[in-house]
């Protein structure tokens, strides 16, 4: 075969990418991220292995001391670990985007007539799959260790949905940082300062009432605490709606602040 049949110019000029094209471009690019997960499952280790280790460590090491018995502690810890895990998983978005930019993959996309926002939106949409895999691994491990959902499947699915929404809101912080730092390795380093007080300064591992007063102030308003309480209510039975609403507002606030920042930084970096 000759290049003549392979590469004759197409002579088609695209003048505009509308919202439907943008959505299509984003979905194609999200598909790329999913293929990458399938090919390199080891990139998910941070959001699969770490929560499993936490599960074992906390349940058997501290469970007896904190809750009196390990099974009761597992039921209490598991919803919180889901929240912590989703928070960690949301950090990956910025790292992945920064890698694409520094490796030149973005240049390829940007030299093509696709919607400007598509690489960004595609990366974020593709991350939903990462969140779901991370949740699934955690849930399955917990169930093997004896965790049970005491309510109904609908409530369980609602918990998963809440987690994904929370992750999607939180990931803009990571995108923002990912657009500002030079190398992908720098992203988690910067974000640890943000994510540690968020996930450990919460009621995920120990009841708020066991903490000193100054810490309780923060722990009570922390969205991780609120989302944990919502998940506990939904999975173990108990009130959840107020907590869920509170956590959702928080997540929305984070997104409202960081989405424009991230988008502007994105336009500035690769505009």
């Amino acid at each position: 075969m000759t290049a003549a049949t392979v590469a004759a110019p197409r002579h088609t000029v695209i003048t505009r990418r509308g919202p439907i094209d943008a959505l299509r471009d984003s979905l194609v690019l999200a598909g790329r991220n999913i293929v990458k997960i399938r090919k390199n499952p080891e990139t998910l280790l941070d959001v699969t292995l770490q929560p499993i280790l936490f599960l074992f460590m906390f349940v058997y090491l501290f469970g007896g001391a904190i809750a009196g018995d390990t099974h009761a502690y597992l039921q209490m810890l598991m919803p919180g670990l889901m929240v912590q895990n989703i928070a960690f998983a949301s950090l990956g978005t910025g790292t992945a985007l920064n890698t694409d930019i520094t490796k030149g993959v973005f240049d390829r996309f940007r030299s093509m007539p696709i919607a400007r926002s598509a690489p960004l939106v595609g990366a974020v949409l593709g991350d939903i799959v990462r969140y779901l895999v991370a949740m699934a691994v955690l849930v399955i491990t917990a169930v093997i260790l004896g965790f049970r959902v005491h309510t109904d499947p609908g409530s369980f699915l609602l918990v998963i949905a809440l987690m994904v929404v929370f992750g999607l809101c939180l990931c803009w912080v990571s995108v923002f940082v990912g657009m500002l730092v030079k190398s992908p390795q720098a992203v988690p380093g910067v974000l640890v300062a943000f994510i540690m007080p968020l996930t450990f300064g919460s009621n995920v591992f120990a009841p708020t009432s066991s903490m000193p007063g100054w810490l309780q102030g923060w722990v009570k308003i922390n969205p991780v605490t609120q989302l944990t309480d919502a998940a506990r209510g939904l999975l173990n039975g108990g009130p959840w709606a107020d907590h869920a609403a509170y956590a959702f507002l928080w997540a929305l606030a984070i997104a409202v602040v960081f989405f424009p920042l991230a988008f502007r930084a994105y336009r500035r970096r690769v505009g």
């Binding site: 075969m1 000759t2 290049a3 003549a4 049949t5 392979v6 590469a7 004759a8 110019p9 197409r10 002579h11 088609t12 000029v13 695209i14 003048t15 505009r16 990418r17 471009d25 194609v28 690019l29 598909g31 790329r32 293929v35 990458k36 090919k39 390199n40 694409d100 490796k103 030149g104 993959v105 240049d107 390829r108 996309f109 940007r110 030299s111 093509m112 007539p113 696709i114 598509a118």
Partner: protein, 326 residues
Amino acid sequence: MTNAIEAEGLVKRFGKTTALDGVDLAVPGGKILGMLGPNGAGKTTAVRILATLLRPDAGWARVAGYDVVKQSTQVRSLVGLTGQYASLDEDLSATENLVLLGRLLGLSKPQAKIRAAELLARFELTDAAKRSIKTFSGGMRRRADLAASLVGRPDVLYLDEPTTGLDPHSRNEVWDTVRTLVDDGVTVLLTTQYLDEADQLADLITVVDHGRIIATGRPDELKRHTGGQTLQVRPTLQVDMDATAAILADLTGTKPLRDDDTGLLTAPVADPMLLSAVVRRLDDAGITADELALRLPSLDEVFLSLTGRKSSSDTDAARVPERSNA
């Protein structure tokens, strides 16, 4: 014929560095422009502006009549880019990369697969099609990148140092591809550090240095300016130096430069056909040569003759590559 690529007064600064300092370009449709310059001359910066990846600080550029800043979508739908550095997803296979690009360009999945297979076959990558790019050699990456830039059947193709790091076979493959593309009516802007590459491929050569254009012309015009080619002969036996020098002086009409340390004789030649005459005369005289070559002036020599000074490569000038042409 209208110009497929046009630019006037392009300026681009990075902090204190002025990467482009008023560059004008005009490439007629279906022609190849070779942009020749040392490291740091501003070649990549110019290509990135023309590919809409960078905005110029001053000046304008149009591709097929569309402004690269104001009509970037139109420009993007017409251009293909093979950047200096690979821009494929290392984790994906060659096929997956090309299918992804095809899908982004609006092909259906089956269409995109057919297109990917065609292009990979064209670049002799069919056997490696399923391997991830990270397992590819440098030459394979360049070819895969070139294939990627052709998925959309571009009207205008930018090739930023497409053969740097390729072996002679792959280099010739790339050259052949570029020639076939131009036969199909594609306009090509190619950057290179090799005069012989520009000479082999380009209809027009622009020499850049320090973000400025220091010469533009057809290859023969530039070469006339820079003194054509150089004949190099290294007799096997030192004692034959004098006889060889005499033959060269006789044929070229100038006294050859002689380096007794390396045993190398060099003389400028205007007519490449002279090479066969030299071979015959040496043979008649019973002189054997270890080295007998015609080569183009190196980039350094071009600069020397165009500007009267050494090229201002921002790295070691000795690293500016030089290739034998024999």
